[in-house]
């Protein structure tokens, strides 16, 4: 068993003249993991999170970072907080400066970086969250989703190893939530450890690879989301509802309509499972649709636009803020902006071509996900990378005969 990056060991805490907030909680956060603390409001999630970067000190028990117990002197705390970044639920309490630029610079400036390094860190962080060009704006002119991204940029600018998000999508509409969750995916696929607290079971079910279920200051269960969330009695104790798809799956299972196995996490998997249940196997035929994959960091807009304009692809989706920015800049209309991979697989299965635009570490992720699907379902799906300008296949109809 490896040493976890961050560990809470039998933590207890009681607020002044309040009820017990935490009663002996132990949690292990592995490096590079995507963990969700799930529970209703008042379960102690935020209290626990505040301890992980030393904002609160446990009454008893130990927090360990990288195997070492936290020290609570000023120097150590600063050091810890640089490495464990905390994004508050409400961006309005986190954004302190009068402009976006000054706010993102807050952390780096206080870390004592030289002005040039500060400027670079600000530029990088704003680029990452897709807010370049917003530097001079006052925060009160931003939308809720934009504020959230400014808050995240302010933490990213300090280059933390662990990112802690308290209710990352609270009060955001679905599109903004989706953007934030994608950002979290990008961060995780870039090697960072990401921890969120949430009462949104659907979100945790889709996103996390490890779930800690909390209620009344205790841990009720921990494990992979499909296991934890299948125990309805446990969820009811935590005053939560099972994810809709999982609920349906378990109900069908109870009536023996569907075969036992790993519960499906997405509409795509579910569809396959039901088809298999009805036909005994998934219908043959790959549909023949192709999935093009474009790395927006390496490809020019012209090539991608050509693909779309000449009808080579029927649907276009973008994953990640930078990819969406790219599409926006290059005036490529997007059909999908969330659940992109699954949507494109579904289209490929019915014979239609699609294009996924993404960036950086997410390219790998797309290959992996489609590969996994092919392996599980037994249907071969090919991913065609969109190549560099000189290598792109001739998109013009005229050239096809040659």
């Amino acid at each position: 068993m490896t040493t976890p990056l961050l560990e809470a060991d039998n933590i207890a805490y009681t607020y002044q003249n309040g009820p017990t907030a935490l009663a002996g909680v132990s949690v292990r956060i592995e490096a590079g993991s995507k963990t969700a603390l799930v529970g209703p409001n008042g379960a102690g999630k935020s209290t626990l999170l505040l301890m992980l970067n030393g904002m609160l000190r446990p009454a008893s028990g130990v927090i360990r970072f990288d195997g070492r117990p936290l020290a609570y002197d000023n120097r150590s705390l600063r050091d810890l907080r640089r490495r464990v970044g905390f994004v508050f639920q409400n961006p309005d309490v986190q954004i302190v400066a009068p402009t976006v630029e000054a706010d993102v610079a807050f952390g780096p400036v206080n870390l004592g970086l030289p002005p040039d390094a500060v400027r670079q860190a600000v530029r990088d962080a704003l680029g990452y969250v897709g807010l370049r060009g917003y530097e001079k704006r006052p925060p009160h002119h931003l939308s809720g989703g934009e504020k959230k991204r400014v808050a995240i940029a302010g933490i990213l600018a300090m280059e933390p190893a662990v990112l802690v998000f308290d209710e990352p999508t609270s009060a955001l509409d679905p599109a903004s939530s989706e953007e934030v969750m994608e950002l979290l995916d990008e961060l995780a696929s870039g090697g960072r450890t990401v921890l969120v607290s949430t009462h949104d079971v659907e979100l945790a079910y889709r996103w996390a690879d490890s779930v800690v279920l909390m209620e009344r200051g205790s841990v009720l269960a921990r494990g992979p989301p499909e296991e934890v969330f299948s125990d309805h009695a446990l969820l009811a104790t935590a005053r939560l509802k099972p994810p809709a798809l999982l609920d349906l799956y378990n109900e069908l299972n109870l009536r023996r309509v569907i075969d036992r196995g790993v519960p499906p996490k997405s509409v795509l998997e579910f569809t396959d499972r039901i088809e298999r249940a009805m036909h005994g196997h998934t219908p043959a035929g790959d549909g023949g649709g192709r999935i093009y994959l474009c790395n927006a960091d390496r490809t020019g807009g012209d090539e991608v636009r050509a693909l779309v304009e000449h009808g080579t692809v029927d649907h276009v989706g973008a994953m990640g803020t930078r990819a969406k920015e790219f599409a926006n800049r290059e005036r490529i209309l997007l059909d999908y902006t969330y659940g992109v991979i699954d949507k494109c697989i579904l289209k490929a299965l019915i014979g239609e071509n699609s294009l996924i635009i993404t960036t950086g570490g997410m390219v790998e992720h797309v290959h992996r996900r489609i590969g996994e699907y092919s392996a599980e379902s037994g249907r071969t799906l090919a991913v065609t990378p969109v190549r560099e300008p000189e290598e792109i296949p001739p998109p013009n109809d005229e050239r096809i005969p040659s």
């Binding site: 505040l50 000054a102 009160h140």
Partner: protein
């Protein structure tokens, strides 16, 4: 209305002009106004600044007209007092049965004051409507204003907008529940608004301390902004305008500095 003043500063047509130049022209205009001994120069300032605000910055005329009404009540009351207590010169008007009279001296001073206030307020509007506070912070920093003062001002700025939003919502929710009906209820409603806002403020303050700590707060705020180049024609135009006002001021009653 306050939100809108700063909103225009963020979006107006002179947004990209060097803030240092705008601040310089605005304050120099104010100084020329209060130092002029005849109403002509201040009136010229009022006219030029209004033109700049309307024609160059493209602030809607209706909004600007409403702004000009803000200082009227104070100006009217205090200028009336000056009008009656200042003597000298011919008596222009006497109030029957009361020891009140308007003299030429009083009328002249009242006119001068009116012109100065008018010119001064127009210059203030020029600054307020074209130069975002966020850029004024940068200039103050360069002028070596103590950092702690600027930091405090920056944090206050940020929270003013958060609290204004909340105060507005609390006010609205009270109106929806029929608050502010009669006078007594108005005072009661207002007291509740103040109290509720105080609680919200207190909670915001605690949250702010926590948030700043979480981001390694070490007593520093903000970065040095990049200095924007002052364009030569703009500078020339500004100087030309200021020297014209200066000349008018000198030739009409002179300039008094202390």
């Amino acid at each position: 209305m306050y939100e809108v003043l700063e909103d225009f500063a963020q979006t107006n047509n002179l947004r990209e002009t060097s803030p240092a130049l705008k601040l310089f022209i605005g304050t120099a205009s104010i100084l020329l106004c209060v130092s002029s001994h005849a109403p002509f120069a201040p009136l010229l300032v009022a006219a030029s600044m209004s033109t700049a605000v309307l024609a160059l910055a493209k602030i809607p005329a209706r909004f600007y007209a409403k702004l000009l009404l803000v200082p009227v009540s104070f100006a009217a009351m205090s200028i009336v007092v000056v009008l009656f207590i200042t003597g000298g010169g011919a008596v222009l008007l006497e109030v029957p049965d009361l020891p009140l009279a308007i003299t030429a001296g009083g009328a002249n001073l009242a006119l001068l004051l009116l012109a100065r206030v008018f010119g001064g307020m127009c210059s203030l509007y020029f600054i307020a409507l074209t130069t975002p506070m966020t850029e004024i912070f940068d200039i103050l920093r360069k002028l070596r204003v103590p950092a702690v003062l600027i930091d405090l001002a920056m944090l206050t700025y940020r929270f003013i907008f958060i609290l204004i939003e909340e105060a507005g919502q609390i006010y609205r929710s009270q109106v929806m529940r029929l608050g502010y009906g009669r006078f007594r209820e108005s005072v009661r409603s207002f007291g509740m608004l103040g109290g509720a806002l105080f609680i919200r403020t207190w909670e915001s303050g605690e949250a702010l301390v926590l948030a700043m700590d979480a981001r390694c707060y070490d007593g520093r705020l903000g970065i040095a902004g990049e200095t924007r180049q002052i364009s030569a024609p703009a500078l020339a135009g500004g100087l030309l305008y200021l020297s014209a006002v200066f000349a008018v001021s000198l030739s009409t009653g002179g300039l008094v500095i202390v």
